[in-house]
């Protein structure tokens, strides 16, 4: 069923009783050409692009729980490509371009909203760094412009510009950045992949790998063994656990990141705005709630919830930038498990086991990368080699020293 305005109106007149399930619920087959482990945004996008770009349709996506139950449903929905490192800008810009055409491509309303991303700066050195990053973006053909205080104040009048400790002097603006409805990304990719013949198999946990002569030949799952000569892992925070089943040890630590949403209010914050004197980002959802978050808690964790010190820190930063936030009630907070890599950048690559591919290390920037991650991972799986977009994100860069360390903080995951 193709979704359209006529479709919506027609169904409305018939009492909305004839909608079809958006994807099938197939039993696993004995063998597939390729298996993707992990039914989150990246795994579903990978399956979709394998089918669309590379003609591989005999594919299964295996998900331990239900699709979209992990980080794709837990993030703060921000998309942007305002990076600085040469390996990162082209990759994230490719992702942003895919976001721009996504809804038409997958025939699903993902509510892509290019409302602009503002990175606020508070002093001269931050201003210089922001201008440099903007220039670096423009040299790569990405939009980025610096707004001085007067221009910023016109756009966002209600920030605390004269905060005694963190006065606001300007901001770097990426107009094409914005937000995307996160759950719809999982559902849209799932539906589009399913329509091309991909089997999405939920409640199916991978419990082992079958490896013969250094090549992967299948997986053991909670729903029985499944054979496949190509297997891609897109397991986010649980990557280390799943990869260990194949004997891999990875440069990853899993950390918890919290996010928050307030009660719904009238339109207040039109853009995505980040605080420069700490780590805080905020936007307003279409339901009216302010959605915001900060840094990871800073210690290894597989608990999908965090602790109070980070809650306090995030609220303090928010109120320092928008004092009016103090009058709002926070409705919910939650946590997701981040696969923090040792240089803060992702890994999309082959492994030493032939036929086993790896997509991990997204730190807490995985959502914006979803389309490009799936696109590049599909290319890597189909051709058994990296695309130039993900060539800098190799697994062996930690041995060779070609790190992509956006923040320049070294191999300390809780600082990225």
């Amino acid at each position: 069923m193709r979704y359209s305005i006529f479709n919506v109106l027609g169904q409305a007149f018939k009492g909305n009783e004839n909608w079809m399930p958006a994807w099938r619920d197939p039993a696993p087959k004995a063998e597939y050409d390729a298996i993707i482990v992990g039914g989150g945004g990246h795994g579903l996008a990978t399956a979709y692009y394998l089918a669309k770009n590379h003609g591989l349709t005999n594919i299964a996506v295996l998900e331990k729980g239900w699709i979209g139950s992990g980080n794709v449903g837990r993030n703060t929905t921000i998309v942007r490509s305002n990076y600085r490192e040469p390996g990162n800008i082209p990759f994230y810009e490719h992702s942003l371009k895919l976001w721009e055409g996504l809804e038409q491509d997958i025939n699903f309303n993902a509510m892509v909203s290019q409302r602009g991303v503002l990175n606020v700066v508070h002093n001269d050195s931050q201003r210089d760094a922001a201008i440099r990053r903007g220039n670096s973006m423009r040299l790569h053909g990405v939009d980025g412009e610096y707004l001085d205080r007067a221009a910023l104040q016109k756009m966002v009048p209600h920030m605390d510009y004269d905060n005694a400790r963190f006065p606001i002097v300007g901001a770097l603006l990426q107009k094409r950045g914005g937000t995307v409805r996160h759950d719809a990304v999982a559902w849209g990719y799932a539906r589009a992949a399913d329509q091309r013949g991909v089997d999405i198999i939920q409640n199916c946990e991978v419990t082992g790998f079958k490896i013969e002569n250094g090549s992967v030949v299948g997986v053991e799952t909670s729903r029985g063994p499944i054979r496949a000569k190509k297997i891609g892992l897109a397991c986010a925070g649980n990557t280390s656990k799943v990869a260990a089943l194949a004997g891999l040890r990875l440069p990853l630590e899993s950390h918890v990141l919290q996010a928050f949403v307030t009660e719904g209010i009238k339109p207040l914050i039109d853009q995505v705005i980040t605080f420069g004197a700490g780590h805080f980002y905020i936007s307003q959802s279409d339901k009216g709630g302010l959605v915001f978050g900060g840094s990871i808690d800073g210690y290894n964790s597989y608990a999908q919830r965090g602790n109070m010190p980070t809650v306090e820190e995030v609220m303090e930063e928010g109120v320092a930038m928008f004092p009016l936030l103090g009058r709002l009630r926070v409705l919910r907070s939650w946590g997701g498990i981040m696969d923090m890599s040792m240089d803060g950048s992702p890994i999309i690559d082959k492994t030493d086991i032939s036929g086993l591919y790896l997509n991990c290390g997204w730190c807490y920037g995985g959502f914006k990368a979803t389309p490009a991650s799936g696109w590049c991972f599909a290319h890597t799986i189909a051709n058994n080699e990296a695309h130039p977009f993900n060539a800098p994100h190799r697994l062996n860069r930690f041995e060779t020293g070609y790190l992509v360390d956006e923040h320049g903080v070294g191999p300390q995951p809780n600082l990225h």
Partner: protein, 89 residues
């Protein structure tokens, strides 16, 4: 989370700085033959579910390095000892 420092008693986790897994051992020597060992030491982590032995420093207190055994799935603290004592064993 509350960590019981052997010197200062139970203190909030905000007072502590986190380094990471206590398992990696610093290799001897910086020669080419040790490159693999250094890579393992600097980058590779077991990153397990459940029990995890990790290095914390009581940075805003007595500044002692500690080995904290913590369940990373529940955040329960299972044991704390001074890092030099843990190493000596």
């Amino acid at each position: 989370m509350r960590i019981t420092c052997p010197h200062c008693g139970p203190r909030t986790s905000e007072e502590f700085a986190y380094l990471g897994d206590a398992a990696p051992v610093r290799p001897d020597g910086t020669g080419v033959e040790n490159m693999k060992a250094w890579h393992e030491y600097v980058h590779i982590r077991a990153n397990p579910h459940g029990e995890h032995r990790e290095l914390w420093q009581h940075a805003s207190g007595c500044r002692t390095w500690l080995v904290v055994t913590r369940n990373v799935t529940t955040h329960e603290i299972l044991g704390v000892e001074v890092a030099s004592d843990a190493k000596a064993r």
